[in-house]
Amino acid sequence: MRLKDLPEEELFLQGSAACQGCPGSMALRVAFKALGRNTLLVVIASCISVLQSPFPVSALDLPVLNMAFASGGAVASGISAAVRRLKKRGVFTEEPTVLVWAGDGGTYDIGIQALSGAAERNTNFIYVCYNNEAYSNTGTQRSGATPYAAWTTNTVSGKQEWRKDVAQIMVAHNVPYVATASLAYPMDFYQKMQKAKSIPGTKYIEILAPCPPAWKFPSEATVQVSRLAVQSGLWLLYECENGHTHYTSGTARLIEGRSSAKPVEEYLRMQGRFRHLFSPEKDEKRVGEIQERISGIVESLKFTAKMREHIMDLEIMPRP
């Protein structure tokens, strides 16, 4: 299946209030195509609350419940329980998909408790975190997903801490399905959304969402920045089904050695939020730290993949 084979029906309508090059609206568009009309959508406080356009119009052609910042997982538990009741009563013939859409602030920070609770209860829903690595809606403040050294309005000389990894935290919840995605690989994202739809229980999908105003790059470069993040090994594409992880798309190519990692500098230089790393002169220390960390991760993944192949060849373990 290719991009041009995606369903033509648009559930993300014209007239949205999104910025030019908004990664959130691109991601929503693909996700809606994957899930179709039989979807109940919860939008958590974020730019998506705004980009659907103000009352009394809406750019989202689905039943939408906008909800408070910290409530994503919990509201899904409520909807999902009610859906079970209504199905039992015969109100629904086909059970609708419950989709929660939240930003990284609503996921990594204020909403992690509700998400964790819903995951532990294995609530039947898909949670999508579109991760633009900052609080964009309130004008770009740091979040737990903001990467090391990135400028935000409250990390003006660059964030001092490394980001945390909520996708892995979700893996540790033993939910049936966790995946990461990128706007530069829309078919990969589409297929992951479709797969998530077919699996009962909690599904967590996180998509990197380069945000032109927050990251400070030209609005036509959203996809290009997305692709570089994967190609340099900064953003890993994988899916984890019942505890078994396998890397997909651009990341798989990187790990299998079919392509070599681009230097992170190329990615960093595209974005104004890292400008202080290159002007007035290059900050060798911090750029070096970032490269070292990313290379370390990619190398260890390659090593693990090789070891795994090796062990498989010895046939002492069954192939998954």
């Binding site: 039989n38 919860v42 039943p63 408070a68 919990a74 538990s77 009610a82 859906v83």
Partner: protein, 408 residues
């Protein structure tokens, strides 16, 4: 069916009779037995309902909003810190207009940790848009809970309802309670007919950005809903009386008010002590009566205006304090009777954090008010023990030391 049980267990059975379909809750003393009992009933197949064991009260309310927005009848119970923790979503539930029903067992706020009766928790949630009903007996808890769904789901209202009753005084004491038959409740409480829901056939966006051009109209509609609720609460009480047989009052319950010259206003179980005090005061020749507030929001403005006309004294008992002013109920009663009564108004702030209040104490305080010997706002049960005085002296000594240091 008649049983002898706690109010907590009684409301659990009432929720079952109301055919609640989704319950989500988080434990907190003194509410815990309600949700333990409901989860047991579900587990043993006695109650046909989904139970969501959420990880916080914020999530409890979020889950209710989600389930109610999907179109099923929902219920929860909380208390004190739990109610405070879900505060943001109390506003949400009311403004998005969902007929959620929840019990709040009135308990003090910390610190220090105090699990006993106090109204501060619900008073602090006063302006969220929730209808607040207060009960004074086990039977009233059961009957009010069933009525609460009727009120919340009435299309003239569509507002969440909080059923309040006092920690331990009611929640944990054993009393006789009579339950109506399921068919009787079904007659009184028809199936939920949601005003709106997440509708796949007619997709709508709820709760998105709203500009100043439209926001005020939404808030006005909430105020209108409360206006309508006054009538609906009375109708529900009247119809319940016909179908089930029990009646505890409309927005208020009045006790010996007709020929009274002095009125005590109270809320919750302390109204029972107030009634005892009235009996004693009447024996002593003071014509007193009690107005018990059943519906705090909407507030019984007309009822109070009617009762207060021509009265000489008003004494309002508050189990809360609006710090920096006075008891919250006191302010409200004065505001309601403004221009309708020349009664001198007094406030008793008392029974906080479970402090035991006797009818004798109330009678004494009312008599002092009638005789004009009381301050306007009094804390009649206040006593400064040696350990209170010791800490008071400590604070004063520290303060004096600081003044000396800054002077030198």
């Amino acid at each position: 069916m008649k049983i002898i049980d706690t109010a907590n267990h009684a409301v659990a059975y009432a929720a079952k009779l109301a055919r609640v379909e989704v319950v989500s809750a988080y434990p907190i003393t003194p509410q815990t037995q309600i949700i333990e009992e409901i989860s047991r009933l579900i587990d043993e197949g006695i109650m046909d309902c989904e139970y969501i064991p959420v990880e916080s009260e914020h999530s409890a309310q979020a889950a209710l909003i989600g389930a109610s927005a999907t179109g099923v009848r929902v219920f929860s119970a909380t208390s004190s810190h739990g109610l405070a923790y879900m505060h943001e979503l109390l506003h949400w539930a009311a403004a998005v207009r969902l007929p959620i029903v929840m019990v709040n067992v009135n308990r003090a706020m910390g610190p220090g940790w105090n699990i006993w009766c106090d109204h501060q928790d619900a008073i602090a949630a006063r302006d969220t848009g929730w209808i607040q009903l207060y009960c004074a007996s086990h039977q009233e808890c059961v009957d009010t809970l069933i009525q609460a769904f009727r009120i919340a789901e009435d299309h003239r209202v569509i507002m969440p309802v909080m059923v309040n009753y006092d920690a331990f005084v009611l929640s944990h004491t054993y009393m006789k309670v009579e339950f109506p038959e399921q068919e009787t409740v079904d007659l009184f409480l028809p199936e939920l007919d949601p005003m709106w829901k997440l509708d796949l056939d007619n997709p709508m966006t709820h709760g998105s950005v709203i500009y100043p051009d439209d926001y005020e109209e939404v808030r006005f509609s909430m105020q209108q809903a409360h206006g309508n609720a006054r009538k609906v609460i009375s109708e529900a009480a009247a119809e319940y009386r016909v179908i089930v047989g029990n009646y505890h009052g409309d927005l208020t319950e009045e006790f010996m008010t007709e020929d009274a010259e002095h009125i005590i206003v109270a809320m919750g179980s302390i109204a029972s002590e107030a009634k005892m005090a009235v009996k004693q005061l009447r024996e002593e020749g003071l014509a007193c009566g009690v107005v018990r507030i059943r519906s705090y929001r909407p507030f019984p403005v007309e009822e109070l205006q009617r009762v207060m006309r021509g009265k000489r004294t008003l004494v309002v008992i508050d189990r809360d304090c609006s710090f920096g002013l006075e008891g919250a109920l006191f302010s409200d009663v004065k505001a309601a009777s403004y221009g309708h009564s020349d009664a001198r108004a007094y406030n008793l702030i008392t029974g906080l954090g479970g402090r035991d209040i006797t009818y004798g104490l109330l009678a004494g305080a009312v008599r002092a008010a009638v005789e004009g010997k009381a301050e306007t706002v009094r804390w009649p049960a206040l006593r400064l023990n040696e350990h209170h005085l010791a800490s008071k002296r400590g604070v004063e000594a520290a303060w004096q030391g600081r003044q000396k240091r800054s002077a030198s």
